[in-house]
C-alpha cells in the first residue's frame, strides 16, 4: 500500500529514528537579521560540500554518515519575518514557549503537596535552566547533527561546515550540546531506551510486532488531511505552505541522578526482601535489557528478539482477549514509568491508546558505574530528549502534568508520582508495588527526585516545504 504521507516532505527522525547514528550534536543559534536567517535555512535545504542537506524521511539505499535536521522556536519564526497572521496561527503554548508554560503550570498550584504542573519547579524551575530559561539567551534555531562517531566520525567536519554557514549568514551560535548512546545501547540508569515508539500510520518500513494500534498520523504530523485522536487535526490556522508535514518537539535537557537511583533500589530491596534489580524493574516496568515485566515478571531471561520487546499489553484487548490481565498490577505496577506514560490496554481514564509521543533521547555525560565505595564523580549526566508530537499540550504537557505528576489516571496511583521522571517532595515520594501474594502492596515513601530539568525549548519542526516557505519569505 502506498504510504499515506509524503516522505520527501517530512524531516527525518520523526517517523523513524536514526538508529545507527548514536551520536548527536545540537547547535543552538540566534538569528541577527531576517535575510541572514532565511539564507541559513536556504543553505541548509541545499546543503554544502561539508554539510548534508536537511535529511528527509525518504527511504535511503545507503545510510548517510550524518543526518542534519532543523527546528525553530516561536521567536525564531518571528526573527525570520513570518507574518503576524501566520504567527497567530500557531497554538498558544508554542507561542508562549517552554519556560513560560512551565512557570504558568507551577503557578496553578496552591501548595507543594497539590499539583506541581508539569514538574518544572524547585531545582527544575526555568530560572535554573542553562537553555531556554529567562536567564539564558533567546534561541531561534536548533540544528541537530546525528552521526556514528565510532564508525564514521563526521561530527566535527559537519560542525565546521555549519559554522562556516553561520558566519556567512551572520547568525550567532549560542550553545552546543553533545550526546552519545552507550555501546550497549543503554542510557543512564542502565536501561535500553526508546523501545516503545508509536508506529505512525503511513510511516516507512515494516511494522514491528506491537499490540498497540498504529498511532493516527494527525497525532504527529500537521496537515489538513491528517486526523488526530480527537477527530480534528493540529494544523489549525497555520498556513498550509508553512505547516504541512511539520510537527512539534519539546527539546529537554534532563539531568539524571544515577547514584540516587542505584541507592534507592538497594535500600528498597533490603526493606522489602526483594532483589534490587526487581525493584528497578518494578519502577520502570522493564528489566534493564528491555524485557517487559508484563511478559517476564520474575526475571529478564524471556527469549525476546529486539522486535518483540514492544509486543505486550497490560490487559486484555479486543484483538488479544486472552492476554494476561494485569488489572491488579501484580506484574507491572500501575505506577511503573512505562505503564504511567503509556497505559496501553490497561485501565486508564480518557481515550485509550492516546497521548502517544515519539521519543528520541540520547544520553550526555559520562557513564556512571555505581560502586558504593567510590565517591560520586560530580559529573553532570542525563538525557538530551526530543519529544515529538502534533500538539505540545495534548501530548507532551499532558504526559508530564497528568500522567507523571498526578495520581488518579489509573488505579492504585493515589499519593504517588512517576518514580523515574516525576517531581518528588522533600523527604521522598511514594511508590507502591502490588505483590499479588500475602505481602499485599509494598509501599516505599522515600523515592528521590531522579530527573531534573536543566533546559527546555518548544520547537516547530517544519516539513521541507515549510522550510522552503520560510527561506523564501513566503509565510
Amino acid at each position: 500500500m502506498a504510504p499515506l504521507v509524503d516522505l520527501n516532505d517530512i524531516q527525518g527522525n520523526i517517523l523513524r529514528g536514526y538508529r545507527r547514528l548514536g551520536d548527536v550534536r545540537y547547535l543552538l543559534v540566534s538569528i541577527n537579521s531576517v535575510a541572514g536567517g532565511r539564507q541559513l535555512l536556504d543553505t541548509m535545504l541545499r546543503g554544502t560540500d561539508a554539510v548534508p542537506a536537511v535529511e528527509t524521511a525518504a527511504e535511503w539505499d545507503e545510510h548517510p554518515a550524518a543526518c542534519v535536521n532543523v527546528s525553530l522556536t516561536y521567536p525564531g519564526l518571528q526573527a525570520l519575518g513570518v507574518s503576524e497572521v501566520a504567527l497567530q496561527g500557531f497554538p498558544a503554548a508554542f507561542q508562549q514557549g517552554s519556560a513560560a508554560r512551565s512557570t504558568a503550570s507551577a503557578d496553578e498550584t496552591d501548595a507543594p503537596w497539590f499539583g506541581v504542573g508539569i514538574g518544572d519547579i524547585g531545582d527544575s524551575a526555568p530560572e535554573n535552566w542553562v537553555i531556554g530559561g529567562p536567564n539564558n539567551p533567546v534561541v531561534h534555531v536548533v540544528i541537530s547533527v546525528f552521526t556514528d562517531e565510532a564508525t564514521v566520525p563526521a561530527r566535527e567536519s559537519v560542525s565546521a561546515g555549519l559554522r562556516d554557514v553561520f558566519t556567512a549568514c551572520a547568525v550567532t551560535e549560542i550553545a552546543v550540546r553533545d550526546g552519545s548512546t552507550f555501546p550497549d545501547g543503554a542510557v543512564h540508569f542502565g536501561y535500553r531506551d526508546g523501545i516503545a515508539q508509536p508506529q505512525v500510520a503511513g510511516r516507512p518500513g515494516p511494522r514491528r510486532p506491537d499490540m498497540q494500534p498504529d498511532a493516527l498520523t494527525g497525532d504527529f504530523l500537521l496537515g489538513r488531511g491528517f486526523r488526530n485522536t480527537f477527530q480534528g487535526n493540529y494544523l489549525g490556522a497555520i498556513p498550509a505552505a508553512l505547516g504541512d508535514n511539520g510537527t512539534y518537539m519539546a527539546f529537554r535537557i534532563l539531568s539524571q541522578d544515577v547514584r540516587a537511583f542505584e541507592e534507592f533500589i538497594r535500600r528498597t530491596g533490603a526493606r522489602f526482601d526483594m532483589e534490587p534489580e526487581l525493584v528497578a524493574a518494578k519502577m520502570v516496568g522493564r528489566w534493564r535489557n528491555g524485557v517487559p515485566l508484563s511478559v517476564s515478571p520474575n526475571d529478564d531471561l524471556a527469549p525476546l528478539t529486539d522486535g518483540q520487546l514492544n509486543a505486550f499489553d497490560h490487559g486484555t484487548t479486543i484483538d488479544h482477549p486472552t492476554n494476561f490481565d494485569d488489572s491488579d498490577g501484580a506484574r507491572c505496577p500501575f505506577g511503573a514509568h512505562i505503564r504511567r506514560m503509556n497505559p496501553r490496554g490497561g485501565p486508564v481514564i480518557g481515550i485509550q491508546h492516546n497521548r502517544r509521543i515519539i521519543r528520541r533521547g540520547v544520553p550526555y555525560g559520562p557513564k556512571f558505574d555505581y560502586d558504593p565505595a567510590v565517591p560520586d564523580d560530580g559529573a553532570e549526566r542525563g538525557l538530551l530528549g526530543a519529544f515529538i508530537c502534533g500538539d505540545l499540550v495534548a501530548q507532551f504537557e499532558f504526559l508530564q502534568k497528568v500522567w507523571a505528576n498526578m495520581d488518579i489516571s489509573a488505579p492504585m496511583l493515589r499519593g504517588s508520582r512517576d518514580p523515574l521522571v516525576g517531581w518528588q517532595p522533600d523527604g521522598g515520594g511514594r511508590f507502591s508495588i502490588p505483590t499479588g501474594d500475602s505481602r499485599g502492596v509494598l509501599t516505599s515513601h522515600d523515592v528521590p527526585r531522579l530527573v531534573t530539568t536543566r533546559g527546555s525549548l518548544y520547537l516547530f519542526m517544519p516539513g521541507i516545504g515549510g522550510l522552503r516557505t520560510l527561506a523564501t519569505g513566503g509565510a
Binding site: T316, I408, P411, R414
Partner: protein, 203 residues
C-alpha cells in the same frame, strides 16, 4: 488554582447563570476530604462538576434539540462508558426552555480531558451546538482552543456533594468487580454489567 465557589461567569455578553444565594455558598464549598496526609491527590481531581448553561438560539428549536438528544442517547452513553471518568451526565431544560443545561460529574481537570469528551462522542457536541447561541466555530475538534474557551465561559463550577467523595469512576468500577476488558466496552444487551439509564436523556 481556580475557585470552585465563585461560580459567576458572564463573558462576552453571554447569558450568565443566576447567582447562588449567599447561604448556599458554604454548602457548595464543601469539599471532599483529602485522601490522606501524605497524598498528592488533589481534591479538585475527583468528582468535578461540569455544569454548562447553554442558551438556545431560539426556544422554538427546543423540541428539535430534545429529539436530537434522544436520538443520540446511545452515542452519549457509549462515550461516557468509554472514558471511565464520568460519574453521571444529564441534560436539563431551563424552565422556560430557553437554555439547555448539561450537568455532569467527572474526574480530572477539565482542561486536560475536554478533548477526550469531544473525541469519544463523535459529533455530539457539534450537533448540540448548532442550536446554541454564541457557539464556538464548528466542528469543535478543528478549533479546540476556542471550544475550551466556550466551555469555560459557560460552565458553572460547583463542588459535588457525594456519598463517596473520594472515589473516582475508575475506582467505583473496580470496586464493583468490573475489570480488564469489560472496563472499555459497553455491555451487550441483556448483560448489564453497568447500569443503563432508566429514563430518557432528560431526567
Amino acid at each position: 488554582m481556580r475557585s470552585t465557589v465563585d461560580v459567576i461567569v458572564d463573558h462576552h455578553g453571554q447569558v450568565a447563570p443566576p447567582p447562588l444565594p449567599t447561604g448556599a455558598r458554604d454548602l457548595f464549598s464543601l469539599a471532599p476530604g483529602a485522601w490522606d496526609g501524605r497524598s498528592v491527590s488533589l481534591n479538585s481531581q475527583v468528582q468535578n462538576a461540569l455544569n454548562l448553561w447553554l442558551p438556545l438560539k431560539s426556544r422554538a428549536q427546543f423540541p428539535a434539540l430534545q429529539a436530537l438528544l434522544e436520538a443520540r442517547r446511545a452515542d452519549f452513553h457509549a462515550g461516557v462508558l468509554g472514558l471511565r471518568n464520568i460519574h453521571f451526565a444529564r441534560f436539563l431544560p431551563s424552565s422556560d426552555f430557553s437554555q439547555l443545561m448539561v450537568i455532569t460529574s467527572f474526574d480530572g481537570d477539565i482542561e486536560s480531558y475536554l478533548m477526550d469528551f469531544v473525541g469519544s462522542m463523535a459529533g455530539l457536541f457539534n450537533d448540540i451546538l448548532q442550536y446554541i447561541a454564541g457557539a464556538p466555530p464548528l466542528p469543535v475538534e478543528e478549533h479546540p482552543e476556542l471550544f475550551a474557551e466556550f466551555v469555560m465561559q459557560h460552565n458553572m463550577p460547583a463542588k459535588e456533594i457525594s456519598a463517596y467523595p473520594q472515589l473516582t469512576t475508575l475506582e467505583v468500577l473496580r470496586l464493583s468487580g468490573i475489570r480488564g476488558n469489560s472496563l472499555y466496552h459497553q455491555p451487550s444487551p441483556g448483560n448489564h454489567a453497568l447500569p443503563t439509564p432508566s429514563t430518557g436523556s432528560f431526567g
